[in-house]
């Protein structure tokens, strides 16, 4: 390690450290403008130059490596003169008035700080020799705007966009004094592929690139000095990005992302949802008081229903989702068709508050009256207990929430198991990774990712991604994958759609939907034929391989080519690349899992992975990419029908006894019978008559909505705890107003088993309460002793009953959190699992042979298209939050179907035209988006939109093991909706 002297202090530094690194490590400040953590060093601002003895010129501290014996002076006369010179040159073209009013609402203008520190006076306006700087401005953008007069051309934004997010929207155009930051070739961020992630906003040192919303809603003073800045976890996807919420006037004013911390999942980045999707908690639609359905009255100390019966019982002045599907609706807005901002001076989007369009219609509140908490609690407790007494605990069920914290999920499952004696506890994992869990349990007795997201960038040679549109659904992880690919890792993508990653991939296996088993079996067949399997791993770490060897024999690449449509030699090439690694990571998501044979599909992928030994090493990770920000945690803490926390079976009396003790209830109150799953509950034969739903919206997310919606209407009692009067909540008897992510403290588990702590930033609006508080009170009213006062205390109980979380406390989670297993109080967490053994009884992985079967519904003459469903970058799940987030909804305000240009031409439709999609179950009207991301003969429908709900059409046939529905494939027909045959307007 070289030893050097900086400003007279002797320091040692790593050999590859720069002078800047060494100085900052020692607390010596050197000004920098173009340097930024993680960005490539370009050394262009020249403000960091320092004197080094024996060097004729000043040297850039940010770009000069330390050397033994170096003597550095950071504030030498020459260095300071240079800095003042740089600042003066920049100031010559910088709006001087900015300096006077504190840099226009920019809390941390690095440039202006240096101007003040080095005492440089701007030239008075009149004496200016040069014009202010300029650049592309993004006029009217609802999320990001530019004020390029304050740009100092440090190019951080350019590099952040190109090198961190790997998008490359921004660049420097022109030369000399005309150089400026431009957005794409013609100023249009859409055409340039902008994803509105706001990485540029994050890195800009002067606020030349800034967020639009805060400046429209908050005063400069509020933005500059927020009341609090609170660390939270992004409420959307399973990446679990850490964000800082700035609070002003009790509301979130803006979101920034934490400075670089090596272990946080995002290392300072976010995607558009994390950075701009934060204003839904302040939406006018927020529920602020408990609601009770009119018709419930109190009579003689008991609540009785004396409202309408039959269809009227749960009716309301709204259209069913089915009816809304038939309505006419706006086509896609013009921005999606490739206009140029410079050609059409854009719609000033800011004044058109799109949020109101999707807001809860006032009529939806009509069947309800506002109630007190006492009334709502009393009624709910009475009805849940009544149904339990009348029909038994199993006539009740709850849907827990992948959007709620571990503590909340734990308390809800504790309430249903301990208080109501039923295991009918499930959440949307059923429609997410339940098949993965089933397959992983079968093969490895595990339920979560084996490795970490950062492995992909750090140590992985081949990245195999199946059925995961990572750059849209897990954008920050998607960017890491792109960086890894740029760094030289080979990318193989198996996906029927040409997603962004598929477009970049070295090998894209564009197979027919649902033919995965044939594809992975053929890859394995070829690997075996080439003797590329990992023999040592097979012998020492697995058993039953011979069964799989026999099972895959018939799947030659040629045969698979016929089934999947992927050419045989592409399959061979992918197989060899996968097997040769040396470190191959295997990622998958909904594209594999949401099938009626999802468990088999995942199993065939696991067979491939195990045969090549691609697990249990740093760089060879098994990563089922989890969707919601706490779908992993909700499952971990037992919000699934078969297990308590830590996946411990409800059937085992010994385990039951342990929980009974912890909850101070007699063991017999806890049922030994496995409960019903989400997709089983919503069926007439389930016997469920009363439900409690926390933060889920099954009427949009369940398959075959028309049936689901009908089922919910038939319930005896329905309580919903949510932020908004959702499509499901409108059928409730009682609606509890809960708290958003920003209004509670709790923990969330991301896709790499990382438990992270999110802090309360603001108070819930009106009388809304924290969800934990609601559950504690209700549990007590149901007779289950629940003495807990805070999330912290709940976590103590979770740790006590959850062996792999035993070392977890809230205080230990501050910072980057912990990756479980964390068995003891001083255990550092586990970055990757299975280095030596699997958690199966004998420590070995089990191979399970599987056979290819055709998808349940194949296209035919009547229904010639295969419909695929999924998510978009700007929306989340059933849209409850994102459609009330101004910026996000402005990007994707309307429901669409993606259709291949050739199919569209054959149908005679163009961008924005309405079409009717019809499946064997139902039909709905939506607008076309022409895109070659989908293959011919396929259409893609995002499921976020109430007005054209994809799940009206999906097939409710279930996976035999995990009871997952076939959400990814159903056969549909597509018909243009002609003006001559109009659909009813409204």
């Amino acid at each position: 390690m070289p030893t050097l002297a900086i400003n007279g202090r002797t320091l040692t530094a790593n050999a590859d450290a720069t002078i800047l690194d060494a100085a900052r490590a020692a607390g010596i400040e050197i000004p920098t403008l173009c340097w930024y953590p993680k960005l490539p060093i370009v050394g262009n601002c020249r403000i960091c130059l320092v004197s080094v003895d024996g060097q004729p010129k000043l040297l850039p501290a940010c770009a000069t490596k330390v050397a033994d014996g170096m003597v550095v002076t950071t504030e030498s006369h020459a260095a300071v003169e240079n800095r003042r010179g740089v600042l003066r040159l920049l100031l010559e073209r910088y709006p001087a008035e900015h300096l006077r009013n504190g840099g226009r609402a920019r809390p941390r203008n690095e440039f202006e700080q240096y101007v003040a520190r080095y005492g440089v006076d701007p030239t008075p306006l009149a004496g200016r020799d040069l014009p202010l700087r300029s650049g592309d401005e993004r006029p009217g953008d609802p999320m990001i705007r530019h004020d390029m007069s304050t740009c100092i051309l440090c190019t951080r934004c350019v590099r952040a966009c190109a090198d961190i997010q790997v998008v490359g929207v921004l660049d420097v155009a022109w030369r000399g004094e005309h150089a400026e930051i431009v957005v794409g070739a013609d100023g249009d961020p859409d055409k340039a592929g902008c994803t509105w992630c706001g990485e540029c906003v994050r890195v800009c040192p002067t606020g030349a690139i800034f967020e639009t919303l805060p400046r429209q809603r908050f005063t400069p003073a509020q933005i500059r000095s927020p009341e609090r800045v609170v660390r939270a976890v992004c409420p959307y996807c399973g990446v679990g990005c850490q964000v800082d919420l700035h609070v002003a006037g009790g509301r979130i004013a803006r979101v920034t992302s934490p400075d670089i911390e090596l272990d946080t999942p995002n290392q300072g980045s976010t995607c558009v949802k994390g950075r701009f999707g934060y204003d839904f908690p302040q939406h006018q639609d927020r529920l602020t008081r408990p609601l009770i359905r009119k018709g419930w009255v109190k009579d003689g100390g008991r609540w009785v229903w004396n409202g309408g019966q039959g269809a009227e019982r749960r009716g309301g002045p709204w259209q069913t989702i089915e009816a809304e599907g038939q309505r006419s609706k706006p086509g896609t807005p013009p921005r999606a068709t490739g206009k140029s901002v410079r050609e059409l001076p854009l719609l000033e989007r800011l004044d058109m508050d799109i949020r109101d369009r999707v807001a809860t219609p006032p009529a939806w509140y009509e069947p309800f009256r506002e109630a007190t908490w006492e009334e709502a609690m009393e009624l709910t407790a009475q009805e849940l207990l009544r149904i339990k007494q009348a029909r038994g605990g199993d006539a009740l069920a709850c849907f827990s929430s992948a959007k709620c914290s571990n503590e909340e999920n734990y308390l809800l499952m504790r309430m249903f198991r301990g208080g109501l004696g039923t295991n009918n506890v499930d959440h949307c994992t059923r429609l997410c990774h339940s098949t993965s869990v089933a397959a992983m349990q079968r093969a490895l007795s595990t339920s979560a990712a084996s490795g970490s997201m950062r492995e992909i960038e750090a140590a992985c040679d081949v990245i195999f991604i199946a059925g995961a549109n990572t750059t849209e659904t897990h954008p920050v992880f998607g960017a890491a994958i792109k960086r890894a690919h740029g760094r030289g890792a080979t990318l193989i993508v198996a996906d029927p759609r040409r997603t962004e990653l598929a477009g970049r991939a070295d090998i894209h296996l564009q197979m027919q939907p649902g033919t995965d088993v044939a594809l992975y079996s053929a890859m394995l067949q070829h690997i075996l034929a080439q003797s590329l399997e990992n023999r040592a791993f097979l012998a020492e770490r697995t058993h039953d391989f011979e069964k799989v060897r026999a099972a895959v024999q018939p799947y030659t690449p040629e045969r698979a080519a016929k089934i999947t449509g992927v050419p045989a030699d592409v399959i061979r090439r992918a197989a060899e690349t996968y097997a040769r690694g040396p470190n191959t990571s295997t990622l998958w998501a909904m594209g594999l899992t949401q099938h009626a044979n999802g468990t088999d599909i995942v199993t065939s992928l696991l067979n491939l992975m195990l045969a090549c030994g691609m697990i249990g090493r740093w760089g060879a990770a098994m990563l089922p990419v989890r969707g919601q920000n706490n779908v992993q945690g909700a499952s971990d803490v037992g919000a699934i029908p078969f297990v308590y926390t830590d996946y411990r079976s409800v059937k085992d009396p010994a385990i039951r006894a342990e929980y009974a003790r912890a909850w101070s209830v007699p063991a017999e109150t806890l049922s030994l019978k496995e409960g019903l799953m989400v997709t089983e509950v919503v069926k007439p034969e389930s016997g469920v008559r009363g439900m409690y739903i926390m933060g889920e919206n099954p009427i949009i997310s369940d398959p075959d909505i028309a049936h689901a919606e009908h089922w919910f209407q038939e319930l005896e009692f329905l309580a919903v705890q949510d932020l908004f009067l959702t499509e499901t909540a409108r059928y409730a008897d009682v609606v509890f107003p809960g708290a958003s992510f920003a209004e509670k403290t709790g923990t969330f588990v991301n896709t790499e088993r990382r438990i992270q702590l999110s802090h309360r930033a603001a108070d819930p609006p009106g009388q809304a309460r924290g969800d934990l508080e609601i559950l504690i009170e209700l549990s007590n009213r149901l007779g289950l002793p629940t003495p807990h006062q805070s999330a912290d205390e709940v976590m103590q109980e979770i740790a006590q009953v959850t062996p792999s979380w035993r070392g977890v406390t809230h205080s230990r989670l501050e910072g980057a959190g912990l990756q479980y297993p964390v068995p003891t109080a001083d255990h550092p967490g586990t970055a990757f699992l299975f280095a030596e053994r699997f958690p199966t009884a004998d420590g070995r992985a089990r191979f399970v042979p599987v056979e290819y079967t055709d998808p349940v519904e194949l296209p035919d003459e009547t229904y010639p298209f295969v419909m695929n469903t999924g998510r978009q970058l700007y929306h989340w799940h059933t849209g409850t939050m994102t459609r009330r987030a101004t910026g996000l909804d402005a990007r994707e305000p309307t429901a669409i179907v993606e259709i291949h240009p050739a199919d569209a031409a054959a149908l005679g439709v163009t961008e924005g035209d309405l079409v009717r999609l019809t499946s064997r179950r139902n039909s709905m009207v939506t607008a076309c988006r022409i895109s070659d991301r989908v293959a011919r003969g396929q259409v893609f429908v995002p499921f976020h939109f109430r007005e054209a709900a994809a799940n009206l059409l999906t097939n409710p046939v279930l996976d035999p093991y995990a009871k997952m529905a076939e959400l990814k494939i159903c056969a549909v027909k597509v018909e243009p909706v002609h003006a001559s045959a109009p659909v009813p307007a409204d």
Partner: protein, 426 residues
Amino acid sequence: MGYPHKPHPKETAVLSKHFGDAEARSYKGWVKRGGYEAWKQAQAMTPAAIIEELKNSGLRGRGGAGFPTGLKWSFMPKEKKKPHYLCVNADESEPGTFKDREIMRWTPHQLLEGTAIAMRAIQAEVGYIYVRGEFTEPFAIMAQALDEAYKAGILGDLKIYLVRGAGAYICGEETALMNSIEGKRGNPRIKPPFPAAAGVFGLPTTINNVETLAAVPHILKNGAAWYKAMCLSNPKSTGTKLFSVCGQVQKPGNYEVTMGFPLKDLIYGMAGGVPRGRTLKACIPGGSSVPILNREETESCLLDYEGCVEKGTMLGSGGVIVFDDSADMVYQIMRLARFYAHESCAQCTQCREGTAWTTKILQRILAGQGKSTDLDLLLDLSENMTGKTICVLSDSCAAPVVSGIKKFRGEFEEYLAGRRRPVVAA
């Protein structure tokens, strides 16, 4: 430019020996004139031996910096672990310099031969000849020559590609040139890493000027001692050098002289001196980027690296720009500054803002609106622009300004005092 002049008796025509001889352009013609013999000789030598010969010859880079060529080649990794590259800098865009153009126009095989030898010396399999975008004719000639050389099979399995620039002076800077070859914006890179460690595509690269490489075959053929003996003054500057003489002279053109040749004789003797009735006022001896000499300095300057430094300037690329007493030095300096302001790649603050601001101030002075503080401001800016940036374009802009104000301050003051008629609009 038309055909070259007849060789002047005092010239030492080595590189320019066949200028004007159209037959020398073709492969056959070149071979007839002894071409590619040095290349054959080189193929029998080890790379180390070639480098040694170059070191002994004393050849220094003709692109501007004058770095010893043999030494530069020796920086390439001896043990080859990754592909090596050679870049040939034919971007010649320095105002006042037009020697590489003539080498390519008349003797394309001379350059190809030097390129091949250099590639062998540095063990490169790929060579890029980066030709200034405006050089359409030289490019066509080079393309034809390359074609012929390949058809003749003389280049073996060396891969030589011609790349066309797109009209940016900065792409002549070696690392900007590499970025440009890679298809990126032509911004110079921070150094280290130097090209020998990480050059084009991040791989070990050597870059040489056209004239440098054109001299290489002659050195191999005639021996290092022969080359080294061509020296009229300082032994550190050897061989011959092409000087492009332009400006207010009677016979502008390229003249090849032995190192150490008096500048005075070049201007008055070969180039015919300033127009009749005029007197010499100033001269920029090394292309637009070097400090200006006044008359006394010009007349006593010896043309080699050391001789120029002695006079406070640099040999640079050898573009000799001559001014007679009719020249308005303020105007001339403004034009130089404007060139650099236009060509700055705009990365470095000092350069992007400094070159533009300098130009604005000079224009203001010329418009009769200068302020009394302007000369100090200019000197201050120039100080700020010198030695602080990624490449030396910024310094190049400052050099004529600082030397101009020092040597012709009176002319500036006349504008400032309103004693000269404004020549540009405000």
